[in-house]
Every structure is written in structure tokens, then in C-alpha cells.
């Protein structure tokens, strides 16, 4: 029972990491329908930006978070303008192009930072309840990822921009006829998705360190979380992060890490077989 409770709490941490890492993908993959193989590299760019802002320029963590969002957001917008824009509704080409982009970004970073780098822990320490230890930083990640989720939901549901985005995904031609500049919306949306990936890289950096290949770890996990949750659903992604994160951690507590991965992947395969649209989908596409 003790193991179960402490693993349940640890699982929250892994779930919130999955959630924040996947949120950018909900926008880019879910809303914009771009199979972005460079999502992991965007997370990595966020991590590298965090390293530069916090360890080279010695800025506080809060500013680094915003900085990472802006930097990767701008890189995302440039990517959209130069590359993605030309490839909408060409899924195969998009996969190739974004995969190539991820290699280019990874290798560029490797030239500058061949060794993995340390980003200091902004919130050291932990509090203890009985035999359960909860690092302060884990609580921060949990709160922060839910805050980002709520802000994103508000942004998409309540603002004019969000409503325009919604209409673009539903009916592009009609939206254009109404005089809305869809290409600008696309650029901004892609930038926002990339920015979210950057923020997650920044949040991950203090716990895992920053290396040029850190993105590849998250690429599979984020796509899996996204597909299980329903690719257009933020709430679904939050819940599937919870299921996958908790499932993996609790299984690991009783078996081991390798078996946890195997079992979770098997469950996901079965799930996708019976609910190919994900657990939570608004409409069939």
C-alpha cells in the first residue's frame, strides 16, 4: 500500500511532464493536422534556450520560461513561413520535411553543445509526508502544466483569435471568404504550438539536463499521449497523460521500468485498435 501511494504521487509528476510536453502537439498535430516530427526538437530548443538564458545570461527561471516561449515560438513561425506553409495537406512530404528539420536542428545544436549541459534546479528541496518525498519542483510542474492548459483553453475558447482558429480548422474556404487571413492564423498557431513545446523544454531542463538529443525521448511519448487522448482534445490529452504517466509509474513500482514500458505500450495498442480516434473525440474526421 505504501508503495502504491508513493508511486501514485510520483506518477503525478510524470503525468504533468507528459501533459506539458504534449500540449504543443495538440495544436500542431491535432488542430493544424501537421505531423510534426520536429516536435521533439522544439522541446530540445526550449531546453537549450533555458540553458542559455539561465546559465549563460543568468536570468531568473520565470523570465527563462517566457523567453523560451518567445524564442521557440519565433523559430516555429519562421518554420511555418518557410516550410510547413508549402506542405499543408501533403502528410507524407510533411513527415519527411519535419523529420529532416529535426535532424538539422539537432545537428546544429550538437555543433555548439556536444556535451549535455546542466541547468540548475530553480526550486530545490522537497517536503516529506511519512515515507513519501515530494520535491517542490514536482509540485511546480503539476501546477504549471495545469495553468498552461487552462490558459490555452481560455485562449482558444474565449478570444477572437481562438475562435478564428476554430473556424479555420472547421472550414478553411468559408473562413477565407469571410475575410479572415488564414495564412496569418496558421503562422501564429504554429508559433504558439512551438512556443508551448519550448516552455516544456524549459521546465524539463532542470530535471534532465539539456542535450542535443533530448527531444527524441519525448517524440514517441507525446505522439502516443496525443493519439490516446484524442488528437484535438486538450481535456483528453490531460486525461491520457494521467493514465499513461500513472500507469507507467505504478507498474514500475511493482515490476520494473522496462516492463512498465512494455505493458503500457501493449495497452495503448489495444486501446488504439478499439478507439482509433482516441479516448475523447468531439467529432469523427
Amino acid at each position: 500500500m505504501g508503495t502504491f501511494i508513493s508511486q501514485l504521487i510520483n506518477g503525478l509528476n510524470q503525468s504533468s511532464i507528459l501533459l506539458i510536453a504534449t500540449m504543443g502537439l495538440v495544436i500542431i498535430f491535432g488542430y493544424m493536422n501537421v505531423t510534426n516530427m520536429a516536435h521533439g526538437s522544439m522541446i530540445m530548443l526550449g531546453g537549450v534556450s533555458a540553458f542559455i538564458l539561465m546559465e549563460v545570461l543568468h536570468l531568473p527561471f520565470g523570465i527563462a520560461l517566457i523567453g523560451c516561449f518567445i524564442i521557440t515560438g519565433i523559430i516555429g513561425m519562421i518554420t511555418e513561413k518557410l516550410l510547413i506553409k508549402r506542405l499543408y495537406s501533403k502528410p507524407t512530404e510533411t513527415i519527411l520535411a519535419t523529420y529532416a528539420l529535426s535532424i538539422i536542428l539537432t545537428e546544429l545544436v550538437r555543433i555548439k553543445y556536444p556535451l549535455s549541459q546542466n541547468v540548475h534546479m530553480p526550486l530545490p528541496g522537497a517536503f516529506h509526508i511519512g515515507r513519501v518525498t515530494i520535491p517542490y519542483y514536482n509540485i511546480f510542474i503539476l501546477v504549471f502544466s495545469f495553468a498552461v492548459l487552462s490558459l490555452t483553453l481560455l485562449f482558444f475558447r474565449k478570444t477572437t483569435f481562438g475562435k478564428m482558429l476554430g473556424s479555420v480548422t472547421q472550414n478553411r474556404t468559408m473562413t477565407e471568404c469571410l475575410g479572415i487571413k488564414t495564412s496569418t492564423i496558421d503562422t501564429l498557431t504554429f508559433g504558439y504550438g512551438a512556443g508551448l513545446a519550448g516552455v516544456s523544454g524549459c521546465v524539463l531542463a532542470p530535471t534532465t539536463g539539456v542535450s542535443y538529443d533530448m527531444g527524441s525521448t519525448y517524440l514517441t511519448d507525446t505522439f502516443m499521449t496525443n493519439v490516446v487522448g484524442g488528437i484535438q482534445s486538450f481535456a483528453g490529452t490531460a486525461i491520457s497523460s494521467g493514465i499513461i504517466g500513472e500507469g507507467r509509474t505504478i507498474t514500475a513500482g511493482f515490476l520494473n521500468e522496462t516492463w512498465a514500458k512494455i505493458i503500457i505500450f501493449m495497452i495503448v495498442i489495444v486501446l488504439i485498435r478499439f478507439r482509433p480516434e482516441g479516448l475523447f473525440t468531439k467529432e469523427r474526421r
Binding site: G2, T3, S6, Q7, N10, N13, Q14, I17, T35, P91, T92, I95, L96, Y99, E107, R110, K112, Y113, P114, L115, S116, Q117, N118, H120, M121, P124, A126, H128, R131, T133, P135, Y137, N138, P206, T207, T208, G209, S211, D213, M214, S216, T217, V227, T249, A252, G253, N256, E257, T258, K261, P276
Partner: protein, 419 residues
């Protein structure tokens, strides 16, 4: 996702892999057949892919050593010409590249390979063509190919002195962890035998997948086990997360991590405050305070300003080149591979770590055993053997039947070089 999209995705992946294979085929030095005044040597390390970072420092070490040898007049008046091939961190490509080096470039020997998987991928070519590989990485043992000289240490050279010291000075309840593949598992098998032999107790054993980054579960298991010390064979960037999570989840260096698989390149990433007070064992540390070591480190740093740091691998690769030089000097005809391999037995080199020697019988190398405590981002060496230790590819604690036979099964025993 629709069915058609899936097909397209699969097709795209196939295309990507074909492209990757195609790009990795190109490049590399093309060479004309033998000209009389040079000796051609292969260098087989990755410039791209997941282990490129580590292998970069090994390529650098080869450049440094061969340039030094050439400046000093080469081997019997002949210069060494080294041909570098990149196997892109991929074992299958390693097979292809060793073939190219041996059959097309006709090198006399190759210094190369980092992972055990890449080394094993070269073995059948080495055997078929009777070629020679000098392998500088520390390795798990339990394999000795007649066509390989193993310059990196065997697990016994890290563990036989380290483990009794840990049990005496740190604690008797040991928790074993490692990455989930052959090297950590083989090393930990030997560690367990040594721990039990010296009266310690193994209170747990856990493995994490390669590249794992969330160690909360494993740290909790360590805590629950009542371990007094953690013996780690985790490799690569997983170490960063592990050392950080270790402290974040309430463990301190009072229950230290004793690692046989971290070096200077990991320490920077882990961060000073998280690595402080833990222990590590390797034949060589760049903090080694001898004239030879200091010269080696400062020369490396002045030659290569590419973000790499000197580690045990740099040193072992450098040693590999000099051992090859000594062997080449002993033979009449450098292209006679059998003679060259035989020439290695008993060869010594005054390396940055101290004098090392290739064993007369088992193709492995006598190296030092050193361990120390991590302080302020560097390793303070606490213990050094006064001379190089004997390599045991089949450790006598696990294979008593080989204890009196120079730790070697007979060459025709399939155990010798499993393929």
C-alpha cells in the same frame, strides 16, 4: 488516423531510412592501393548519431597519437596514414565500414568502435578476412576474439579493489542499478559475486531502459531497501536525471552512488551540487596528478577546442594507437596480420595513466584501477593500484574453472568469441 495515411507514413519512414542509409554510404577517404612508404591504419568512430559525442573524443585521440608518431619519424621510417570512417552510431554500418577499411583500403589494423554492439558487428568480418581491431572502450568481458586487442578495462579491473573498499568504508548493504542491456548486467553479475564474497549484501537490483529520465521509482525502491550504498552501471545521459532525482527525492551522499560508468563528460551535465560526495571508478581520471597525465590533458585541450573533454576513453584510445605502433615495430611485414596480433602479447606502453601492458595470453590489457570521490565537479582520486592490474575477461569469481588458465577458455571454445 485513416488507413491511407498510415500507409503513407510507413512509406515515408521507409524512404527516410533509405535516405539515411544512402547518406551514410558516401564520404570517407578514398584511397589508392598500397604505396610503399606509408602504413595504412583504419580509424572507425562515429561522427553522427547517438554516441557521436563520446566517439568524437576518441577520434581526436587517434589524430593526436598518430600525428605525434609521424612527427617523431613514423614506424621504421614509414609514416602512418589513418583513414577515418564514420559508422553513424549504427552497428550495421560498422559492419559495412570495417569491410571497406579491410578489403578496399587494406589497412593493417583498425582502432575503433565504441559500443559493444558495434564491436560485435565487426567480428565476423575480422574473422573472415583475418583482420585486426584494437578496441579501446571499457567493456563487459566474457568475449575474447582472436582478432581483437581489448585496450579498455575489463570489469574486474574496476571492481576487484573498489568493492572491498566500499564494503569496508561505506556500507555493506548494496543496491545494484544499471541500464537495461548487456554491459551493466554483466558487470553487476560480477559485482554481486564480489559483494557476497566480501561479506556484503545485495538488497536490490534494478535496471532502467536506455535513455530513461524518470528515476523517482528507482530512488524510492532504493530508499525502501535500506541500502547503505548504490552501485551503479547506468550509462549516458540517464545519469544526469538519476543523480538529480536521487537528491530531489530525499537521498544524500550519505548513501553514496558508486559508479563504474561515469566519466568527466557526465559530471558537467549532472552538476556540481548533485554529484558532490559520490564515488566513481575508472583506470584513468583527467585529474590524475602526474606529469604524463597533465601533459596529455593540456596537449589535448590545446589541440581540440570542440567542447569535448578528456576521459578514460580518450586516454585508452591514445594508448591503443601507441600499442599498435609498438606492435608494428616488432614485425617484419606490417601486412602479416597473424604476426602483428602475436606481436601484441607482452607489449608495454608508458601511458598517461601509468605503464600498461597487453596480456600475453588473452588479448586484454593490464590497466590501473583508480577510484575517487567527486568533489567540486572533478574526481579526487582516493585510491590507485601501484601497478597495472591483470585483466580477467572471464572473472575468477564467476568462472573458477578458468582461474588457473590465464582466465581464458581454449580458443576453439565457442565461449571465446560468441557470434
Amino acid at each position: 488516423m485513416k488507413n491511407g495515411t498510415f500507409k503513407k507514413i510507413t512509406a515515408a519512414f521507409a524512404a527516410v531510412s533509405v535516405m539515411l542509409a544512402a547518406t551514410s554510404c558516401g564520404g570517407g577517404a578514398s584511397s589508392s592501393s598500397s604505396d610503399g612508404d606509408v602504413i595504412k591504419v583504419g580509424v572507425l568512430f562515429s561522427e553522427s548519431g547517438s554516441t557521436a559525442l563520446v566517439e568524437k573524443t576518441m577520434t581526436n585521440a587517434c589524430k593526436m597519437a598518430f600525428d605525434e608518431i609521424n612527427e617523431a619519424g613514423g614506424i621504421k621510417g614509414k609514416k602512418i596514414k589513418y583513414i577515418h570512417e564514420d559508422y553513424a552510431s549504427d552497428p550495421a554500418t560498422a559492419t559495412e565500414k570495417i569491410k571497406k577499411l579491410v578489403e578496399q583500403d587494406e589497412v593493417v589494423a583498425t582502432v575503433g568502435c565504441y559500443t559493444s554492439a558495434s564491436r560485435q558487428a565487426t567480428l565476423s568480418t575480422l574473422k573472415d578476412d583475418n583482420a585486426l581491431l584494437i578496441y579501446p572502450t571499457y567493456t563487459e568481458g566474457e568475449e575474447v576474439s582472436p582478432n581483437v586487442i581489448y585496450v579498455g578495462n575489463m570489469p574486474n579491473q574496476q571492481a576487484t579493489d573498489f568493492i572491498p573498499w566500499i564494503l569496508k568504508n561505506v556500507g555493506k548493504k548494496v543496491f545494484l542499478i544499471g541500464s537495461d542491456y548487456v554491459f551493466p548486467k554483466t558487470c553487476n553479475k560480477q559485482a554481486r559475486a564480489l559483494i557476497e564474497m566480501y561479506g556484503g549484501e545485495v538488497v536490490g537490483e534494478e535496471y532502467a531502459p536506455l535513455g530513461h529520465t524518470d528515476f523517482s521509482t528507482i530512488v524510492n525502491k532504493i530508499k525502501d531497501s535500506g541500502a547503505e550504498v548504490v552501485y551503479s552501471a547506468l550509462i549516458g545521459d540517464s545519469n544526469t536525471s538519476f543523480y538529480k532525482d536521487y537528491q530531489q527525492y530525499g537521498m544524500t551522499a550519505d548513501t553514496p552512488i558508486c559508479s563504474i560508468s561515469i566519466d568527466e563528460s557526465n559530471l558537467q551535465a549532472i552538476g556540481k551540487e548533485f554529484a558532490e560526495g559520490h564515488y566513481a571508478s575508472m583506470p584513468y581520471w583527467s585529474s590524475l596528478d602526474t606529469e604524463a597525465s597533465k601533459n596529455f590533458v593540456s596537449k589535448y585541450n590545446s589541440l581540440f577546442n570542440d567542447g569535448t573533454v578528456v576521459t578514460v576513453l580518450t586516454e585508452a584510445t591514445y594508448d591503443s594507437c601507441y600499442l599498435l605502433k609498438a606492435a608494428l615495430e616488432k614485425v617484419e611485414d606490417p601486412t602479416d596480420t597473424t604476426a602483428l596480433i602475436n606481436a601484441f602479447g607482452g607489449i608495454t606502453f608508458d601511458a598517461p595513466q601509468g605503464e600498461i601492458k597487453v596480456d600475453e595470453n588473452n588479448h586484454c590489457t593490464w590497466v590501473y584501477s583508480r577510484f575517487g570521490q567527486i568533489h567540486d565537479g572533478a574526481v579526487d582520486i582516493l585510491y590507485t593500484t601501484d601497478k597495472a592490474l591483470r585483466p580477467e575477461p572471464w572473472p575468477s569469481v564467476l568462472y573458477p574453472e578458468y582461474a588457473d588458465s590465464n582466465f581464458m577458455p581454449s580458443w576453439d571454445d565457442p565461449l571465446c568469441y560468441p557470434q
